[in-house]
Symmetry: C2
Amino acid sequence: MLTNMPDLSHGDDVAAVNALRSAIMRIGRRLKHQRVDESLSPTEMSVLGTLARCGSATPGELARKEHVQPPSMTRIVALLEAKGLVRLEPHPEDRRQKVVSQTETAEAMLEESRRKRNAWLAQLAEGLDEAEWEKLRAAAPVLEKLAHLQ
Amino acid sequence: MLTNMPDLSHGDDVAAVNALRSAIMRIGRRLKHQRVDESLSPTEMSVLGTLARCGSATPGELARKEHVQPPSMTRIVALLEAKGLVRLEPHPEDRRQKVVSQTETAEAMLEESRRKRNAWLAQLAEGLDEAEWEKLRAAAPVLEKLAHLQ
DNA sequence: TATTGTTATACTCTATAACTATA
DNA sequence: TATAGTTATAGAGTATAACAATA
């Protein structure tokens, strides 16, 4: 192999991959704790995030994306609808299916959630010096690309 | 404020914080799915990780660190002991307490878990070019520092 | 006959309340 | 009297199995 990165036979790359994995998992866990609505379960939040990205989806599609079984998604969608966070409409082409989409309330809640987590992360990053922050700023788009690979 | 970073009134910093948050949460979720032992619950895995870092702890200390109530930790420790992943010994100074520590089996399992997640992340990073990987490698120690701040 | 979604039911994980043993 | 841990019991959240409606 000539150019592909990283190469796990090289010490520097092993150390970097290990540091990245450990740091991402740790910061990820702490970010997850910064929640706007404590009454929503992790899967309920995740469904809202998926709907925000995908626009709308059927219960079956949501179940597959969230790795839960269809009966669980039936319950989750019903709870979200009761909380006014999603809307259910009949499927235009298949009367067996339904179309789930987020409400304006959910959109606002997700925006508030992002804002809160960004603020927490920015505050944490104040413990870095300028050179360190510059390295993170340079890596941010790369991490974003990495997150969307595969 | 003169030197503290990041500054959320600067567009570049806002974009970087937002990209970091989004990417870290997304990659973190995907890393979490790379599990060695599907039969262990998230909290059971977390307890093993805590024991690996701290050496040993009492059930009460573990309950506080994992943010679960003492009766839940009683059950978790009992399950981990039944699986041969932790050892319970009497506390040397207080006969009310117990000392929980990880077994060699647990240590090997955690090492295998790290290896599997590193391999997954390294494979994902093969979708980057050399310049991008270099930016990540430079940022890795900074992310690790960030993860341990506060 | 296959697929989508729901209902009925059971299991896992965690919590609260009450209890035992020790400090 | 206070603290560490356990037992008993209840509440989320998810799973499997059986069912209804539609393709």
